[in-house]
């Protein structure tokens, strides 16, 4: 086989492998992904026994410990609709009322949402926020 043909063969093999990997990647990512929903979207769209990534803020005065279970409500960032979640597992240090959380939940037949063990993420307190205008002043 002449060198040019060898190079062509190598290129075809490499490109085919890349296309295969990319196809597998794309297919499995759409198949395995958990939809990310706000509480209002979750209440509208959630199907039983499917996992969803719930994002929102922990409602004030909603956090209760019942043994190993942590019960809390998650509301839309803009306020309004809230979802009750029962979570078991490690609780991140920053977790508290008012903080933004991400938790993978599954809808039970009864309509309650149960958090997947170890899936609770609390966003670091917003240190990269823009200060409210009233706090800004140029000396």
């Amino acid at each position: 086989m002449n060198p040019a043909r060898k190079r062509t063969v190598r290129l075809v093999v490499a490109l085919s492998a890349a296309v295969l990997l990319a196809s597998a990647l794309i297919y499995t990512s759409f198949k395995a992904a958990d939809p990310a929903l706000s509480p209002s979207q979750l209440l509208r769209q959630a199907q039983p026994d499917r996992s969803y990534q719930l994002t929102g803020s922990v409602v004030a005065h909603s956090v209760e410990h019942h043994g190993e279970v942590l019960d809390f409500r998650v509301a839309d960032r803009t306020g309004g609709t809230a979802v009750q979640v029962a979570y078991t597992g490690s609780v991140p240090d920053p977790f508290r009322e008012g903080r933004e959380v991400i938790v993978t939940v599954r809808k039970q037949g009864s309509g309650d949402f149960v958090g997947e063990r170890g899936s609770l993420i609390t966003k670091c307190p917003s240190k990269y926020k823009e200060a409210p205008p009233s706090e800004k002043q140029n000396a």
């Binding site: 990647l25 990310a36 490690s90 240090d93 670091c124 307190p125 917003s126 240190k127 926020k129």
Partner: protein, 721 residues
């Protein structure tokens, strides 16, 4: 002071604008004095930003709460070390750190190239000052570190307790050094393409900076993983969080570049590939910087505000579009000088290694940005979790470790199968011995972990064989003692043997990752004093509770610290005593009450672990501070103690702590038995050592003398041939 700081930012912006104009004007009109003036603009920018960051540092150390950023991230009770490091804990301060580090590295590279690359440097100056002006503009118009409030508050909010750990404060400067160093090859790469000077010289110049960027990024990533493991309460070191991934991606493409660069230097091949890697690495570094500040992805780090998102998107768009245009329009000049001689050569395996690294980067990129991709394609945002990442990254990592063992054993240009057969005997033997040993001790499950152990054994044996043969060859010539021969061998071939040390470190690191992720035992449960839990082969008994008021054993300034003493045994043998605790911090929120605010702030786990070469036993506690008897004390104290008497508040806390010790409510514990975790950190240190060996320059006097001798000697020998 704030006036000086703001003046520095404005002056910096003006200097950047001038420098960009002067360098381009000097390049276009071939007037080198303008280019020199532009070069000095970079030095001036470094001086200006040094003054600016010094101003902010002084403000933090002096508790000057008139500065908003000081009031938001520091307090009088924050320990001094953390006050000094809190400069980069805020958006504003971190932007200033980024710009300052960029100006320092830019000054260094422009000083080193002051007599070289005359056609390339003007464009590189313009690019670097362009980045500088971008970040300074963000500070001037969006997030000014010198914004003030008068009257100044009497006390600051304090540094987030999660950041009050040495690893976490050193992590940003290391990571930012890596990101900003990535800008140097990017700027010179773009400059070389614009100037159509894509020969070997620019690559040679930026090689060390690419290596330094790789090194600093690696240290930053390792520190972040270490912080996550030893300070956060989940017991893991890597969660495929978008911000973790954002720093890993440029490190992967940087690693690929450092390998394929050798092929370009030796054979004049892969020019398009290399310049694309350089541009991709720089762009990924900018994207990494952007991810943390934009809020576009849901992440533990994706802070809310999206004000900086739009400028960053514009910059990234310009980088990607410009890079593609430059590479496509200069592709004729980037043609390879040679072709691959043989598939069975080191060049070939380096290219395979490159493909694996880029594939890894692509997988991580796809998974990280999938929420945006899925929303764009389907209208529904969705995300993939760690199992999806593991499915692709683990097999690719296996191939990578294997290749890192094959490459050192194969010669450049062409290798023969007969030689290769001989050279693979020991590494393959080591892999087989490892497999046999694992099966013999009953480790038959977890095939991926077993495969990784065998691949790592193969790689370690391959590298070990290289060192052995190299020392033997040297001793045959010089008759030195083995340690001296080894030192001389490494000193005279730093790039080769430094690289081998890096490969060794990566193999060790992957052994740690495979073992700790595949064979860990974890238990989460509630315990009362006297009760025990089983974790793997260990029994952990909750001996007694602990409580400290103000006297924070972790030295992070917590007001109250509740914990436990745990006894770890294996059979009847005492293994370790652990002291996990939870720190409670002042929230400065008067609505929580005079005593409530003292502990109403961020709660932070203080992990306790027994770390060893074979395993770590890791523990975390979450005391039930909301138990009714304790809350009753706090509520009563809130009603009777005025806000202005914090000393009485602390007395009430001490009383509460005493009540906790006498009648402790059950606490939630998280125990993990994780084998070989320490080898991750040891492997990381070995990688760092290898990188330093490669980076270390040869003494210049030796270099000059060797060149002169070699020039004459080689010419004469060739003339006689």
């Amino acid at each position: 002071m704030a006036v000086l700081g703001r003046s520095c930012l404005l002056l910096g912006l003006v200097v950047c604008a001038y420098g960009i104009g002067a360098s381009l004007y000097g390049a276009r009109t071939t007037q080198p004095q303008w280019v020199e003036s532009a070069r000095r603009s970079v030095y001036a920018l470094a001086l200006i930003l040094t003054v600016a960051i010094a101003v902010l540092e002084i403000a933090f150390l002096r508790n000057d709460f008139v500065f908003n950023t000081v009031a938001d991230t520091s307090s009088r009770t924050t320990p001094t070390f953390y006050r000094a490091a809190a400069v980069w804990a805020s958006q504003e301060g971190s932007l200033l750190l980024w710009a300052w580090l960029l100006s320092l590295w830019s000054s260094l590279v422009l000083f080193l190239t002051r007599r070289r690359l005359r056609e390339v440097v003007p464009y590189a100056i313009a690019i670097l000052l362009g980045f500088g002006s971008f970040f300074i503009s963000l500070m001037v118009f969006y997030a000014n570190p010198f914004q003030t409030t008068t009257p100044a508050p009497a006390e600051g909010v304090g540094l987030d307790p999660l950041l009050r750990f040495p690893t976490m404060m050193i992590h940003p400067p290391m990571l930012y050094s890596g990101y900003t160093l990535c800008m140097i090859p990017l700027a010179f790469g773009i400059g070389a393409l614009i100037a159509r000077r894509v020969d070997a010289e620019w690559i040679r110049v930026i090689r060390r900076f690419s290596l330094a960027a790789w090194l600093f990024l690696g240290i930053g990533i390792l520190l972040g993983a270490r912080w996550s493991y030893s300070e956060l309460g989940w017991g893991g070191y890597w969660g495929w969080d978008p911000v973790e991934n954002a720093s890993l991606m440029p490190w992967l493409t940087g690693t690929a570049f450092l390998h394929s660069l050798m092929i370009q230097e030796k054979r004049g091949m892969l020019k398009v590939w290399n310049v694309s890697l350089v541009l991709a690495t720089g762009t990924l570094a900018i994207m990494g910087t952007f991810l943390v500040r934009s809020g576009i992805l849901s992440s533990i780090h994706a802070f809310g505000g999206a004000t900086l998102g739009v400028p960053f998107v514009c910059l990234i768009g310009a980088l990607i579009g410009g890079s593609i245009y430059l590479v496509v329009s200069r592709r004729e000049m980037l043609r390879s000088e040679h072709r691959l001689d043989s598939l069975f050569s080191r060049e070939s395996f380096f290219m395979a290694n490159n493909l694996v690294l880029v594939a890894l980067c692509f997988v991580i990129f796809w998974g990280t940005y999938f929420p945006l991709i899925s929303e764009a394609l389907t209208g529904q945002e969705a995300s993939v979790g760690p199992p999806w990442f593991d499915r692709y990254t683990v097999p690719l990592a296996l191939v990578l470790v294997l290749l890192s063992g094959i490459g050192p054993v194969i010669a450049w240009r062409r290798a023969t199968f007969a030689n290769a057969r001989r050279n693979f005997v020991v590494p393959i033997g080591a892999a087989l011995v490892t497999l046999t040993a694992l099966l013999a001790v009953g480790i038959t499950q977890k095939p991926l972990a077993i495969t990784m152990f065998c691949c790592a054994a193969f790689a370690l044996a391959s590298v070990g064989q290289e060192f052995f043969r190299g020392v033997r060859a040297r001793r045959a010539m010089t008759h030195d003692a083995p340690p001296i021969a080894l030192l001389a061998l490494v000193r005279r071939n730093r790039r080769r043997y430094g690289g081998y040390v890096v490969h060794m470190g990566m193999a060790v690191l992957f052994i740690g990752v495979a073992a700790s992720s595949s064979f860990r035992h974890q238990t989460e449960l509630g315990l009362s004093p006297g009760q025990s839990a089983k974790v793997g082969p260990y029994t952990i008994r909750y001996v007694r509770p602990t409580a400290h008021v103000v006297n924070d054993p972790a030295h992070t300034g917590s007001t109250l610290n509740l914990g436990a003493v745990l006894n770890v045994t294996k059979g009847s043998r005492h293994v370790a005593t652990l002291h996990p605790s939870q720190g409670y911090y002042d929230s400065s929120d008067p609505t929580q009450g005079s005593v409530g605010h003292l502990i109403g702030g961020q709660a932070v786990s203080h992990i306790s672990m027994s770390a060893g070469v074979t395993r770590d036993i890791w523990s975390a506690i979450e005391p039930d501070i909301s138990a009714p008897p304790l809350q009753k004390i706090i509520n009563a104290a809130n009603k009777t103690i005025p806000l202005v008497r914090p000393d009485e508040g602390l007395l009430a806390l001490a009383y509460m702590a005493g009540a906790y010790l006498r009648h402790p409510p059950p606490a939630q514990f998280n125990f993990i038995d994780s084998p070989l975790v320490m080898w991750i950190w040891i492997g990381g240190l070995i990688v760092l050592a290898g990188g330093l060996i490669v980076l270390w320059p040869a003494p210049s006097t030796v270099r000059g003398r060797v060149r002169a001798l070699a020039r004459v000697g080689l010419a004469r020998r060739l003339a006689r041939a």
